[in-house]
Symmetry: C3
Subunit: 443 residues, 3 copies
């Protein structure tokens, strides 16, 4: 099917939210059964290849860690009451805690406890990936209520040789040039960070799998940091194919959309994302690359310097619910998920359709009137073609300007420029320039 | 005579206004006797070659249309009263209306009538160049007063094979490099659009015809769109000579001056016009090129991409009187015409005098004091030379900076920089660089 | 001693002020004993080579003038009272006045008198270097009190063949590439202009003379204009060594720091000075080069175009005390002198330490945690290293970015970036790139 880029806009927000709800209870980590179960649920919706990389594998400067799994955990009072219970929230255990089961004095216990005094009802989210340590996270109110002298602590977890799991969905397009979309799957019950990214990425892959595409697309579902490092280490030969890339995360909160540029800063993906946000009709921000954040850190390391940006709403660390139990099913909403999805679709639509054309009548304007193209009135919004957009496309289709260049210079929405190019192609006033002839223009 | 660029500043506004008044009654169109009569009146003031291009001639994607002429037109009531009368205003007839003479019901008549309800006393200006249609324009009050059931309509016009007329005035300078000044002559009784352009262009040609000039100058008086297309089609071999170009229009209204850049955006004409407006002491605006407006559309089509900008005051469509009977002799004023003329002169003066020089004493400053050039006090305004302007010219005359470059970097008026260069030439501290040696510097 | 760039910050302001106080009484000029005495006092603090260039020597377009010396001067009333007395202030005599001793009518005298009516208690500072004239400067109140008909004027000065004196301090570094620091020594009892520049330059040379330095440093103590012209004329062969340069002047007033860029405008010195001022925590301004001001005029003349900027506080002519007796020991203060000194040190520190490094682990991030470098907390101020600064250095150490580039892109203080590079060098994650291999990076 030729890509017409339509999808059920009415229901997409609910679909995304439903998938998040399904994934929410699972206790994920950078390895283990939680990640595997998550990949299985993604694999129900899209064709997904699941890779297992054994513990101990060297990946650049890093080593794939032992696999962590957890069955249960609690802090029990002398009266036998579970005052902190993993079954209530998997955030209660510091992710990657080593197993422990013993009596412990309150004072010693407190060295292993973490709370958020500024939000006394929230449980913080903490990890101990490379430390071989253990601990509990709890609400500040729970912490204040610990007035017994001794407690029983139990973390029924295993940290043993196993493997790191990640999923990959590859859609073959007309060329081997590819668009990379990646999202992290290692966080436990946190909705915005990053079930929102998982859900949007999955449904994008599902939508695109029905299209005939110019680019090939690679969707990665990976644990943060170690996952992208592992994938990059095992796929160096494929990297030259990556022409555009996006890290997707934090897509369900009420904040405005934020695009963080790739390291290069002027890649096509940077211009495409900025264009879509600018013409979205809503407030947004575009920020420069910085070498901390999500997996763009690895894709944009100096040895690769890939054109990979990051689309999010409120950035990490900039909303109070970040990395806490308040990042729950009430924090993300279908309307924001749908809005983020729509922006992703617009960005990919732009990349797919950004080509250069040649005005076949470059000396003076062609007479639009005799072709019924003069004083056309554009439709509301961005899709309508009008005389002004036709004149822009004609004037700049000189082989030095892509449709995105024209959209930027004219300050018109890319879809309007693309539709205008289609009208002019139909009137035989334009001819396409093959990608191969203008590789430099593949911007 | 060596160009000293002086002209009677006191009377120029009245001269321009008088010429506009003379041209105002004529019913012009893109072809026909009105345009021819206009060219005859221009030809009384400057040496003008008049060209006739026959109807049916192919000019790029267009065809020169049949020639349109009109003698009379009216809408007559059953009582025999001319309720709309071409003799009162030639705007009453849609320009290029085909002949008609018959009785017509009011309802059918109304399909051929155009008014401006928001300005009930103004007649709109409309054309039907490539449609073979007819109609009348009238005031909204006239329209409301049409309460008879039937009217007699008469348009005593002809639309027959003939020719398109345009005028060309070429002034030979020291080089074949040329400056193109063009203005449209196709509008009937509208003063700002474009008798103001015709008058300013004519008097500029008249002024320059008395000078020894570096550049050759070509002044075109052409019907809009079809005229520039026709000229371009017949003169392709001359286009490489065009180094700078200006479309002149809308030069008599009270609004601030507006310069619309050429497609290239950084041509010498763009920098010259921006410099003159910046140093004019009045508010102004400089806008980017866009592919709609006046004949810069054709000169800046991608097949030519000539360095042609457009100087106007309030842009087309941005003043309520635009394309209506209110664009009359009261709307344009001598003072605004004189101001526009002065800015044109300054732009051309800058182009003529923009050269590069070489500081003959480039190591450290020369001792200005022993030459009587230290602590000179500049005159009021832009013309005075002072130590600061001398130091700027000395410091930047390194063969990499033209006088315009120096004026821009120093934020001093070009005339002051030019005068300073003359003083330094006189003191043998500067030597000119021949154009041919620095073609890239011909900016 | 390896340069650790520490100095007694507590006492530096007092040291600078004390040196200014010592130099204040001397009547300096562009030649003569005052300049020589000043150089002798500088030479007590740093190794200084003193040059004497004979009167009449041709230096480019200029000639070294006769030497001027003065013993006494006064205006005496008929009653024998010295109503204007050189012994009270050496500003009373126009610098370079020719000798005179005679009776003179009040009216004729007044042609030789200069005051500042807007500051009736201040004596202006005036010179007559190349005019062979004489005159007195006095307070406006003194001028008003001259009510005798006749006065005796005496200027016991000599203007005779001699020499022009300047001092040069050269510190040999690891390379012959050099940093030029220059200051003018020709003004008499004026503190900000320019005893502040002399004092800061002297103590900078004293500080650096104890360091092992990458660059060689040349400190010039020269009369303004004729001194820099003389030095440039006699040292043309050394100019290619000058990689960075600063003119130091006006460094003791309470105003904010101002950096005037070199003619090139994007030299390393321009970027270094702007960076230091931006991160100083105080208001500042950076202004473009203009060809008037101090000796940067000569160093930046088009025949040399050296990368020499000018650091000052309130620019010349922008404070009321400028070139008047009010530029005295109360106008400059130790705290402002210390602040200016500190900024100079920071700029030179930056130049010395601005190198390019290569990330030895360019594919993905190295695992900082196993090296104890993760979640380091930076110290207060600019010196602390933290994870963010380490990541910036790693991400941009690709041979295309110097440490200054990284500091600019990250918006972090250069010292923090430099310290981070040192930490990464220590962890074997970075390797230095030799200057010679990347001459273009010597920015």
């Amino acid at each position: 099917m030729e890509a017409n880029w339509t999808y059920p806009q009415q229901s997409i927000g609910e679909d995304l939210y439903r998938f998040i709800s399904e994934l929410y209870p699972i206790c994920r980590s950078i390895t283990g059964e939680g990640a595997r179960e998550t990949l299985r649920l993604i694999g129900k919706r899209i064709p997904l290849e699941i890779h297992e990389v054994p513990s101990g594998a060297q990946v650049f400067d890093w080593v794939v860690p032992k696999e962590w799994n957890i069955k249960d955990a609690y802090i029990k009072s002398p009266q036998g009451e579970r005052v902190v219970d993993f079954r209530n929230s998997n955030l209660h255990v510091i992710n990657y805690s080593i197993p422990v089961h013993r009596k412990i004095s309150r004072d010693e216990l407190k060295k292993h406890l973490f709370a958020m005094p500024e939000h006394p009802d929230w449980i913080p989210y903490r990890t101990a990936y490379y430390k071989e340590d253990w601990g509990f996270c709890l609400t500040h109110n729970q912490l204040l209520a610990l007035n017994e002298d001794e407690y029983e602590v139990c973390i029924d977890a295993t940290l043993e040789p196993g493997s790191l799991s990640y999923g990959e969905c590859y859609l073959t397009g007309q060329t081997t040039d590819e668009v990379l979309i990646t999202t992290h799957i290692c966080h436990p019950s946190l909705c915005n960070d990053n079930l929102s990214g998982i859900a949007v990425t999955t449904l994008l892959a599902s939508l695109l799998s029905g299209f005939q595409l110019r680019y090939s697309y690679r969707f990665l579902f990976i644990p943060a940091t170690i996952g992208s490092i592992t994938w990059l280490c095992r796929n160096e030969s494929k990297l030259p194919n990556i022409k555009h890339g996006l890290v997707l995360t934090l897509l369900g909160d009420p904040g405005q959309s934020t695009y963080k540029k790739s390291r290069c800063g002027i890649a096509a993906i940077d211009r495409a994302a900025a264009h879509v946000l600018k013409h979205s009709g809503a407030a947004y921000s575009v920020v420069d690359f910085h070498p901390y954040g999500y997996d763009e850190r690895q894709f944009c390391s100096p040895g690769f310097n890939l054109p990979v940006g990051c689309l999010m709403r409120t950035p990490n660390g900039c909303f109070p619910e970040y990395h806490s139990s308040a990042d729950d099913l009430s924090f993300v909403q279908p309307e924001y998920l749908a809005d983020s999805f729509s922006k992703c679709v617009s960005i990919l639509y732009l990349l797919e359709n950004n080509r250069s054309y040649l005005n076949k009548n470059p000396k003076c304007e062609p007479q639009l009137g005799k072709r019924g193209l003069y004083q056309m009135i554009g439709g509301a919004g961005d899709g309508g073609v009008d005389t002004v957009s036709l004149l822009w496309v004609l004037n700049l289709s000189d082989a030095n300007h892509s449709l995105l260049d024209i959209a930027e210079k004219s300050n018109l929405d890319f879809r309007k420029i693309k539709n205008s190019a289609d009208v002019l192609l139909g009137a035989d006033l334009l001819e396409p320039i093959a990608d191969e002839e203008h590789p430099i223009k593949r911007r």
